[in-house]
Amino acid sequence: MGTSILVWSVVSHDGAARVVKPAGKIDESTATPFGERLAEEIEAAATDGLAKVVVDLSHIEYMSSRGLRGLTLGQRKASEHKVAIVLAQPNEIMREILAISRYDKVFKVFDSVAEAVAG
């Protein structure tokens, strides 16, 4: 597989949650930087006293098991800081991948960022 580029943005920081928005594919070539950046975002949320990180998946094309497991490692790190990770607005491919992997049973998945922040 080719090397993919992962672009991140922190789109809001409204006092309730840190909303992060990675863009691209998360596969074996991007899973490590994805996990590292997610860890940084969790620490930033904890430093700011926020209880939640919302991962906006709307610009993720797909995520392989490496990326999914990166989410779990992030979840473990977040729980150490008493921060929750939730997922928002996955595309149809990501919805299928979350269902096939049963990750929709271990992460809360919301249709919109607003619902994820409020939920």
């Binding site: 597989m1 497991r69 299928e96 096939i100 049963r102």
Partner: protein
């Protein structure tokens, strides 16, 4: 090469209950929608073409035993693991020996857990004084495990009463062994008391990997590079896909098994040609396994970036031409 699956279930042998057979028959009758059939052959043709596998057949319930056929009748049998599927393999092999096949068996043990050795006391060829059985393993205590399960407290026939010429050979990772009609390589895997995967390559360069009871740890994902290399370009990779990914990193973490999606990712990265889902969860029904197979095919499609990976779901009795 041919690969014959004699046992595909993980952990514990299971059997169909009357109710599940009844459900299959009822579903078949509904699917027939009142059609009549002239004879059994016509009814079977309908069932094979019109019914899904979980209705028409079954994935079976015998524990791990896979035969790799390479070479001809003059070459040795190659058998991966001694699960309960071994009993039926042994009977079939005796028939082939009666027709002229060499009475030599090279066994390759993934590890020594009960479900992978429990067929050995029922392996008829070990009562054949003309048979030679060589048990290859990465574990130096393989002989202890097989002798112990035939001690009187567990089984009425002692190991020393077996008539075949049985020997044990400990293999090492990193060495290529010419054995029978194939070259064999081994990889260490994460599992309680360790397990080993094997790669069999024939004279034509066709290769089959047998990698069961192998957990790919979430906190050691870099270790997967070795598996990508081991699976590289293989014609068939048989993988432990016992759990969903979510189960394998939550409730069932450290239980020593892996998932369908990790197996597909490893095979994609390795550019393997075919994957056989294997070591099925004993609580799964045929319908559950069929659903898991369909989902695996879909995941492969969703994440494919290069050549397609054909995803098979192993069942007791499946024969794959490699």
């Amino acid at each position: 090469m041919k690969v014959r699956f004699w046992g595909t279930r993980g952990s514990l042998a299971v059997a169909q209950k009357a109710a599940s057979i009844g459900d299959k028959i009822a579903a078949a009758l509904v699917a027939a929608r009142g059609r009549t059939f002239a004879d059994v052959a016509e009814a079977r043709a309908f069932a094979e073409s019109e019914l899904d596998f979980a209705t028409f057949g079954t994935y079976g319930g015998a524990t791990s035993c896979v035969e790799v056929e390479a070479g001809g009748e003059g070459d040795a049998f190659i058998v991966c693991d001694l699960g309960s599927g071994l009993r039926e393999f042994g009977l079939d092999a005796m028939g082939r020996c009666a027709r002229g096949h060499a009475r030599v068996y090279h066994v390759f043990l993934s590890h020594l857990h009960w479900d992978h050795i429990c067929g050995f006391p029922f392996f008829v060829p070990v009562f054949d004084p003309a048979a030679e059985v060589v048990i290859h393993s990465g574990h130096p205590d393989a002989e202890t495990a097989l002798r112990r399960q035939q001690e009187e407290i567990s089984f009425p026939v002692a190991f020393d009463w077996l008539r075949a010429n049985i020997s044990f050979r400990t293999l090492e990772v990193g060495t290529r062994y010419p054995i029978g009609a194939v070259t064999v390589e081994m990889i260490e895997q994460h599992h309680s008391h360790l397990s080993y995967g094997y790669k069999f390559t024939d004279a034509a360069g066709k290769s089959v990997v047998y990698s069961t009871d192998s957990e790919h740890k979430i906190d050691k994902m870099d270790a997967e590079t070795a598996f990508v290399g081991f699976f590289g370009g293989c014609d068939l990779v048989i993988c432990d896909t016992m759990y969903s990914l979510a189960d394998s990193i939550s409730m069932k973490e450290d239980w020593g098994h892996s998932s369908n999606v990790v197996a597909i990712d490893l095979c994609h990265e390795a550019e393997a040609k075919r994957l056989a889902l294997f070591h099925h969860e004993p609580t799964y029904s045929d319908a559950d396994l069929q659903r898991m197979h369909q989902e695996s095919i879909r995941y492969e499609e969703l994440t494919r970036e290069t050549a397609p990976l054909e995803v098979l779901c192993a069942y007791d009795g499946l024969v794959v031409d490699v």
